[in-house]
Symmetry: none
DNA sequence: CATGAATGAGACTTCATTCAT
DNA sequence: TATGAATGAAGTCTCATTCAT
């Protein structure tokens, strides 16, 4: 079997020569993402990334001129996909605003919070001070779109009379924070033995409870009329 | 400002040997906290910490046997006081549970979110994978007490009939997360020029809005009866 | 000698990167042996060893994970051959025990006393206290085999009626000591200008005299009969 | 008990103030000798010496300007006493040369081999290369006198017809070596658990056996006449 | 005299990066 | 292109020595 089947991916252990060079950058970025998230930027050695991607140290430098550039590439590549998905979800929705928020939160958790992508947020949070140029980039590409996504959804509910009038940005923050916060923890404390770093909070129930609370707080009550 | 004020002390430039065994640990911890929060653990050089504290490299090692131990000491020293204060506030409260939560949130922001102490959470979040023993320590000393503090307050409201029956841990998480999350951001993105990393969210208003939303969501409505 | 011979290679000055994975360990061990013997373990800097071997500091650590391990490797590498040779000599001998002892002593001096290998004994003697695990190793690999070698030879002479009955271990010690002792001195005092550290003792004559004395002391005299 | 009795010496543990400054140098030298012998020059920290002598680090430097000077002082001070004793023994002897040698060897072992003084030989052997100025000193003060002591004794026996004519310096070396060698080993390997570094050689028996062998070798036999 | 806090040069070791093969 | 041996700057930590008290 000299030619690996196109669907088989086993980057770490495959000593298969003849790997196609087109997939190299992606394999390196994947390996780097996992390691940067797990150990942080400084504690991840360039050689580890190369090894995890199944190539030698030298090869890494054939694709990325430095560890810093690799880091930035990891962030960039993982951000573009995030953004696209979020905006798409927003644009396609048709139902009530409460339903929209429920769906956004669920999607957010499935696509971001519960995947390696959430790790991106952790490393950016940890390293922006050392990579100032990432700040503008991340703000424009992630923070503001996410804020736009949720605040637009809230505004939509206010406009339709479904929600009370509230400061939309603050509410957007309050809506997203618990989910992202939970994701952050799962990528740091979450690695240790069960009880540690945890308070018995279970993701699914957290989302339900959080939304139940927030939607009740948002919805217009009879008494408000 | 070409003329330094006579009262301003500049520990960095003092070339004189000063014997201050009592105050040195605190000075070193303060310097370390600031630098660790700003640059991360790995990117902060031991000599920088010493210099910022106005002592030489060797002196740092007179008080802390390694950079790791210094880090742990920073975490410990900044946390013990936090926990104590929170529990005290809880114990002493007499009024309604809604008032209690408002007060806890305000205090939390003033004593934690808005101070360097919030930076602690950022570095722990970033470094806990590299310091496994820190995980247990931090969980026991910070995360669980904080969870206890807020979930007890919520339970108090439920017991008195002020709040609906809700899963207290999840609600506690949802209550704390936006505040801590905001603090995390101010210690990372917050360092750059105003609009960056921000979405126009203003701390005080966030807290008001967040609490308004959450308390409405918690309180028993006539319709629930 | 102002003109360097064209065949002499000067590894120290070669600024070119040379890939020589196979020969590097040996080159490093040789350099380390010479320097450890000359200056002691602690006074020899890792960089000196690397430089003497014609490589950079980092390369040394590519082959040996620490200065301690390098030291142990030097000891091991220089001992294995020693032991093997000694035992072989013993096994192959056919003549009288007196002749055997003469031959062992001569070989010992040529292969050990008069070579860098004797320096090993000096550094081990100086450093065992700092490397406890080295003690067992050296005892098992060098001291006991050497004792076995000589005490077996003496016992052989006693069994054949050539030597008087004597405590073999003590005699073995007394036979080896003057030679090793001389070797030790040549690696310490011997480095300075001729008269210093010396008492006019000339190695060859010492061995002759020492053996003459010892063999007369060992051999059965008519009067003993 | 504010004034320690003059005869009580407990340098290490006595926190007694008012220690007389006359004895300080001696206490420091004693502590340094023990530590240098045990751990070597480089591995012995100045503070350890000071602590073992019951004083602070600064005080050590009041008496000796540097660790190197302390080392040299240790060697010098311990050598002078050695020499004096040896020469005295020689001068006072009256009996046969065989008896003289037996006595010299016994004395040598008791006063040198079996005491910390033997450690001096070990450290000098280990460090001369780093302290070249010690070489001449040690040669003149120890090696040559010791050689003179034993070779004179042997020559005395030859002159009286008691011993065969032999090269006296080589014989002197052969006589001393086993004893000194044993002493060296006891200060290095001797520190570890019993069987290690040893070959079952027992000092007293070694000396007896060694002398028995050597004297038989030296003495004129009937057959030689 | 004595102390011990403070200093800073220097050693070991790591690892991002280079480059001959 | 790919490799991995080699490099050397940089960081952590030690400890001989100094000096204010």
């Amino acid at each position: 079997m000299t030619r690996p089947s196109p669907t088989a991916e086993a980057p770490v252990e495959a000593p298969v020569r003849q790997r196609r060079k087109e997939t190299r950058p992606q394999e390196l970025l994947d390996a780097a993402l996992a390691l940067f998230v797990e150990k942080g930027f400084a504690a991840t050695r360039a050689e580890e990334v190369a090894h995890a991607a199944g190539v030698s140290k030298g090869t890494l430098y054939l694709y990325y001129p430095s560890k810093e550039e690799l880091f930035k590439a990891v962030v960039r590549q993982n951000l573009t996909s995030l953004i696209a998905e979020g905006m798409e979800t927003l644009a396609q929705h048709q139902g009530s605003s409460s339903e929209l928020l429920v769906m956004l939160m669920d999607t957010w958790w499935e696509r971001v919070g519960n995947t390696a992508a959430a790790g991106i947020h952790k490393i950016v949070l940890s390293e922006v001070r050392n990579f100032p140029e990432l700040a503008d980039f991340y703000t424009a590409e992630v923070i503001q779109p996410a804020d736009l996504l949720f605040s637009t959804a809230v505004q939509r509910g206010i406009d339709s009379g479904e929600f009370r009038p509230v400061p939309v940005h603050e509410v957007a923050h309050a809506l997203m924070a618990p989910i992202i916060f939970l994701a952050l923890h799962r990528h740091s404390f979450g690695a240790c033995t069960p009880p540690c770093g945890a308070t018995g909070v279970e993701p699914k129930r957290l989302i339900r409870t959080h939304l139940d609370l927030a939607l009740r707080g948002l919805q217009v009550r009879p008494a408000d009329a």
